[in-house]
């Protein structure tokens, strides 16, 4: 008999390679930042994983665009899953490490500094199905 403390939660984090695979196949991520006004802002944007960085394209007229300046803190989310036990996601926090303007686009380089991930397929109840 194994006594499980009330506070103990199952570890449903993804491995590093699973995180990289999800970010690589996502194609788009939710990008969030804090506007100069103090309000949180977010958009959905095309993204490519390159080592420990995400290259993100944001439309220059997006409400988020002016918040993406060098060293600004950002949070990016990629997730997938059509049913509860299929849900997988990555929440990557980091900072802007370069911005280039290319016509109507801002090409933003995000340095990933902290990752939280989850795979509901690793929940104990998923093993029973």
């Amino acid at each position: 008999l194994r006594v499980v403390p009330v506070a103990e939660r199952p570890n449903i984090a993804m491995t590093d390679s699973e995180v990289r695979a999800l970010l690589a196949r996502a194609g788009e991520v939710v990008v969030a930042a804090i506007a100069p006004s103090g309000w949180p802002v977010a958009t959905l944007a095309p993204a490519r994983l390159d080592a420990a960085r995400l290259a993100i394209d944001v439309a220059a007229d997006d409400p988020l665009a002016d918040s993406l300046v060098d060293d600004a803190a950002v949070c990016c989310v990629a997730d997938e899953g059509a049913s509860y036990l299929d849900i997988k996601g990555v929440i990557a926090r980091g900072s802007v490490a370069g911005v280039e303007t290319d016509g109507a686009l801002r090409r933003v380089d995000v340095r990933i500094e902290h990752v939280v991930s989850f795979d509901f397929g690793k929940l104990p109840e998923a093993r029973d199905t």
């Binding site: 939710v30 006004s37 977010a42 958009t43 959905l44 439309a59 409400p63 949070c75 989310v77 199905t129």
Partner: protein, 151 residues
């Protein structure tokens, strides 16, 4: 300071009623953003989320109630618009019974994803014993963003 976007329109309200995949963006105590993928329900002019009372997101919105909710259709082949909304968040018990009723009534489809009866029962139980709370956002402003076709 006003939030970004424009005052809410009927088009925004219809979009909010039709889509449950919502990314809740809050401001952490260190001033940095944090985004959470959530199921959101549009009820009586507000966006509601079920979450654990002791969760970090609850602590964050109690400290700074300004939030952004990014609403993304699950099937973007059907509707590729993406709506950014802004408003102030608060814990509200008013929606608790409505959520429990929906969960116990087998309204799993309301989440927009398949959710087993076992998981729905567990969430309903945790709403009943107040381990989970309803976080409600009074949405005041919105705009379709350039990430979707509505931008």
């Amino acid at each position: 300071v006003d939030a970004p976007g424009e005052p809410l329109t009927d088009t925004h309200r219809r979009f909010l009623a039709d889509n449950t995949q919502v990314y809740l963006v809050v401001r952490r105590p260190d001033g940095k953003p944090m985004a959470y993928p959530m199921v959101g329900r549009w009820e009586d002019g507000g966006l509601e989320f079920s979450t654990y009372r002791k969760s970090a997101k609850v602590r964050h919105v109690e400290r700074d109630d300004r939030v952004c909710c990014l609403v993304v259709p699950r099937d973007r082949g059907v509707d590729d618009r993406v709506l950014a909304t802004w408003g102030q968040a608060a814990m509200g018990d008013a929606g608790r019974d409505r959520w429990r009723a929906a969960l116990q009534g087998g309204d799993g489809g309301a989440a927009g994803i398949e959710v087993s009866a076992e998981v729905r029962a567990k969430v309903a139980d945790r709403l009943a014993n107040q381990k989970r709370v309803i976080l409600r956002v009074e949405v005041e402003r919105a705009t379709f963003v350039a990430g979707g076709a509505g931008g």
